[in-house]
């Protein structure tokens, strides 16, 4: 029986692969479809201001997913489960450093990037030099960060976003589009350049596709992998600051929801968990798709628990069809 089930799955998988050679287009169609459904359920769902609001939320997720994407591309079971902890920590640090004053923005950016980068560095060193599997290393790091958040919170007020940061995130900056969306597009451009126009980008794909061959061709495998975790930490730190700007002040465990969501966005976008192929354009689409889906679930009055179930289910379903090794190529 098990062999016939497996056969069925293989068949179903190949069907899906044949039907959808380009996940980017599939994702875009899905987004459009969901918007129509949303508009039907609750008129005004697909209005321009509402779409911009969705994109602001998607930007924050997308920025976290950029780091997740890089770590996953690097292969060898690469995954960063500590992103949520870094997002929360960064939101608190930024809030306290700027405490409502514009003059504190630059120091806050520097502090958050440094701390995010440092946590990523520790993740990277644990994975490469100590040989700890990424899943375990970053999960342990998440535990440490969550404990640290409790300690930090006891003595310090939660902090306040600087007005300039809040308006950058929420109010229109250019052509009526909020600054954070521009920031996200900029990050998308930089990611594309990094991955396809730099030697580092080639090396990231190389270690993800065949680490041993990459090493034989002179790729500094460990350095590249550590840099991936560092970039992931820094992207999460940026996202944490954006959340602070979005909500005005930081509250407990604001980053928790990003761990699962960032992984789903990456996989939805066509980067297999095995790494070595895929890219950030797909991930950006994946992030938008996920946020629209989330919004529809909210419209349907499905609570947070229900949404988490839907997200987890989506990831498992994707794994069934994409498999761990193979994926739909962009």
């Amino acid at each position: 029986m098990s062999s016939s089930t497996a056969q069925f799955l293989t068949k179903a998988r190949s069907h899906i692969t044949n039907l959808s050679p380009n996940p980017l287009i599939v994702a875009l169609c899905l987004i459009a479809g969901l918007l129509v459904v949303g508009e039907f359920l609750s008129p005004g769902f697909a209005s321009l201001p509402q779409i911009l609001r969705l994109l602001v939320v998607a930007s924050i997720l997308g920025i976290v997913a950029a780091g997740q994407n890089l770590v996953i591309l690097g292969g060898r079971e690469g995954i960063d489960l500590s992103v949520g902890g870094i997002v929360s920590l960064s939101a608190i640090i930024a809030g306290n450093v700027m405490s409502g004053a514009d003059i504190g923005i630059l120091p806050a950016i520097i502090a958050c990037l440094a701390i995010g980068g440092f946590i990523g560095f520790l993740n990277g060193v644990g994975v490469t030099f100590l040989g700890i599997p990424p899943l375990v290393m970053t999960l342990g790091m998440l535990g440490v960060l969550q404990g640290l958040l409790v300690v930090v919170r006891q003595g310090i007020p939660s902090g306040l976003a600087a007005p300039a940061l809040s308006s950058f995130v929420a109010s229109p900056l250019l052509f009526g589009v909020p600054g954070i969306i521009w920031l996200w597009l900029m990050i998308g451009l930089l990611m594309a350049l990094l991955l396809h126009r730099t030697v580092l980008g080639y090396r990231i794909y190389a270690i993800g596709a065949n680490e041993n061959a990459a090493k034989m061709a002179g790729v500094p495998v460990r350095v590249v992998r550590i840099s991936l975790f560092m970039m992931s930490g820094m992207f999460s730190a940026i996202a944490g600051m954006c959340i602070l700007g979005y909500s005005g002040s930081s509250f407990a465990n604001v980053g928790d929801q990003y761990m699962l969501a960032s992984i789903i966005a990456v996989v939805l976008g066509g980067t297999p968990l095995a790494g070595g192929k895929g890219g950030y354009t797909g991930t950006m689409t994946g992030a938008v798709l996920l946020v629209v889906l989330q919004s529809i679930l909210t419209t349907l009055n499905i609570d947070e628990a229900g949404r988490q179930i839907a997200f987890g289910g989506t990831l498992l379903l994707l794994m069934v069809f994409y498999g761990r090794g193979q994926s739909l190529r962009i």
């Binding site: 396809h196 730099t198 030697v199 190389a206 065949n210 061959a213 061709a217």
Partner: protein
């Protein structure tokens, strides 16, 4: 009547013929030696008997009845046990568990009978007790043992199966003299008990010491079976190399030998590590140095040590007269060394990535590039690919869309975008088509003529004999002979390879 008879057994892998025609008669109570050059099919033949390779055609008879050995489990039921050259041990389990793995004793068919397992294991260890050395007990994890001790465990495991037919594929390569003696004594006991034993070894003295009969395999065909006491090593080697070829080799003096060899580029001094013993040699600019001998006797290890993949151990490497610490492929590449492996899947191709991405990494490292412009890099990559007459549609295509031969060309092109001083070739034409092989060797000779120092290991004797100016023959990680000029013959190659270690 023979215990086991194989009649015209064959095995192909795609276009490659691993065994074309295998005939073998095993008598009860004999040690039957299999001997043949690299890739002649002796391992395939023994794997067919052990059930890990299924023959395409042929008849196998056990005690006069035709049988079909479909898998290792079936072979075990027919009474066949095999010692695998590459060992088949579970590193994290104890010596006792490994020895008893194929038939773990149990109580009530469910629970492991630890007491009995240890008894069985101790009985198998007993004959070797004086020679196993320190740190060996029934409860030691196999992963913590030395290479020779692991090999002994594999031997004990083979004996523990109490099989009527025992196959040993190079069982003594890591053992010392006393251990070998001990093992041969056990074999004699088994022989006296009426078991039949298939024996593959690279040590001539062992073969003539323990063997009763010998079957020689040449190019996938079993060519003759002789009684060992009625023959000698020269006769055996001639049968192995082929009489016509042996005679032709003796007469021919016309093998190309270049004289215009440049200054010394690479000196290797006295390397001893896990796979090598006191290896030392030098290579000059414009020279192709060949590494020969039976498979897996250190040829690849020499190249991988120079390239910084394997630990150097003791010894030194000099480039252009200066001592270098080559502790990683990166360091080796920076010092002008290139390494092309025949194992493309493991060491060569960057799976599923574009041809461009597969060609440029070494160039990017050497030139300290940060930006990667597909246009500029593409131009350089195309030039390197043209040297090899590679066929491809676009540099953006996945390397997976190419044939094996063309994939290997891409890997070679990777190293030629910025020409190295020293080229290490580790069986570079494994599994690629004849036409591509020819092109690659034309290129290699041309590179040597331009002054590159080249070390070539090939599992195909013809490639080695046709292209190398000198050949170092390895046996068990040691250089046993250097063949120069007219000495470079297949006969001499195997004469040296089967030399007493």
């Amino acid at each position: 009547m023979s215990k086991l008879r194989l009649r015209s057994v064959s095995k192909r892998y795609g276009a490659t013929v691993a065994l074309e025609y295998g005939d073998l008669d095993l008598e009860a109570g004999e040690v039957h030696v299999l001997m043949g050059a690299n890739g002649s099919g002796k391992s395939t033949l023994s794997k067919i008997i052990a059930g890990s390779v299924r023959p395409d055609s042929g008849i196998i008879e056990l005690d006069g009845k035709a049988i079909s050995i479909t898998n290792p489990q079936a072979a075990r039921e027919f009474g066949v046990a095999i010692f695998y050259q590459e060992l088949s041990l579970a590193a994290h389990r104890t010596v006792a568990e490994n020895i008893c793995l194929s038939q773990l004793p149990s109580t009530a068919g469910v629970f492991l009978d630890r007491q009995k397992m240890i008894e069985i294991a101790e009985r198998r260890i007993a004959p070797f007790l004086d020679v196993v050395g320190d740190g060996f007990s029934v409860n030691t994890q196999v992963g913590q043992l030395r290479a020779d001790q692991r090999q002994l465990v594999e031997i004990m495991k083979t004996f523990a199966q109490d099989a009527d037919i025992l196959i040993f594929d190079e069982p003594t390569s890591a053992l010392d003299r006393a251990q070998v003696e001990c093992f041969l004594n056990l074999l004699r006991e088994q022989k006296a008990a009426g078991r039949c034993i298939v024996f593959i070894s690279h040590r001539r003295d062992e073969i003539f010491d323990i063997g009763d009969r010998i079957t020689i395999i040449r190019d996938g065909r079993t060519v003759s079976t002789k009684v060992l006491s009625e023959t000698n090593i020269d006769e055996v080697l001639i049968a192995m190399v082929g009489e016509g070829e042996a005679v032709a080799e003796q007469q021919s003096q016309s093998l190309p030998q270049r004289t215009e060899i440049g200054e010394i580029k690479l000196v290797v001094e006295d390397i001893t590590n896990d796979s090598l013993q006191e290896v030392g040699f030098q290579v000059s600019a414009g020279e192709i140095l060949g590494l020969g001998g039976l498979h897996g006797h250190g040829q690849s290890a020499i190249l991988r040590t120079i390239f910084g993949v394997l630990d150097l151990g003791t010894g030194q490497i000099f480039l252009d007269g200066a001592a270098k610490d080559l502790n990683s492929p990166r360091a080796a590449i920076r010092n002008g060394i290139a390494y092309i492996s025949g194992d493309r899947r493991r060491d060569g191709i960057i799976t599923d990535r574009s041809i461009l991405e597969n060609v440029v990494p070494v160039y990017a490292l050497k030139k300290h590039l940060i930006a990667a412009s597909p246009n500029t890099l593409g131009k350089k990559a195309r030039m390197a690919l043209e040297l090899l007459q590679s066929k491809y549609e676009s540099l953006a295509h996945s390397i997976g869309s190419m044939s094996g031969g063309n994939q290997q060309k891409v890997v070679v092109a990777r190293w030629l975008m910025d020409a190295p001083d020293i080229l290490l070739l580790d069986d570079p034409t494994k599994g690629i088509d004849m036409a591509t092989k020819k092109e690659l060797f034309n290129l290699i000779r041309e590179l040597a003529a331009q002054g590159m120092a080249i070390i070539l290991y090939s599992s195909e004797d013809a490639e080695l004999l046709e292209n190398a100016d000198r050949i170092l023959v390895l046996n068990n990680g040691k250089i046993v002979r250097e063949l120069k000029g007219s000495e470079r013959t297949r006969y001499n190659l195997y004469h040296a390879a089967y030399e007493a270690a």
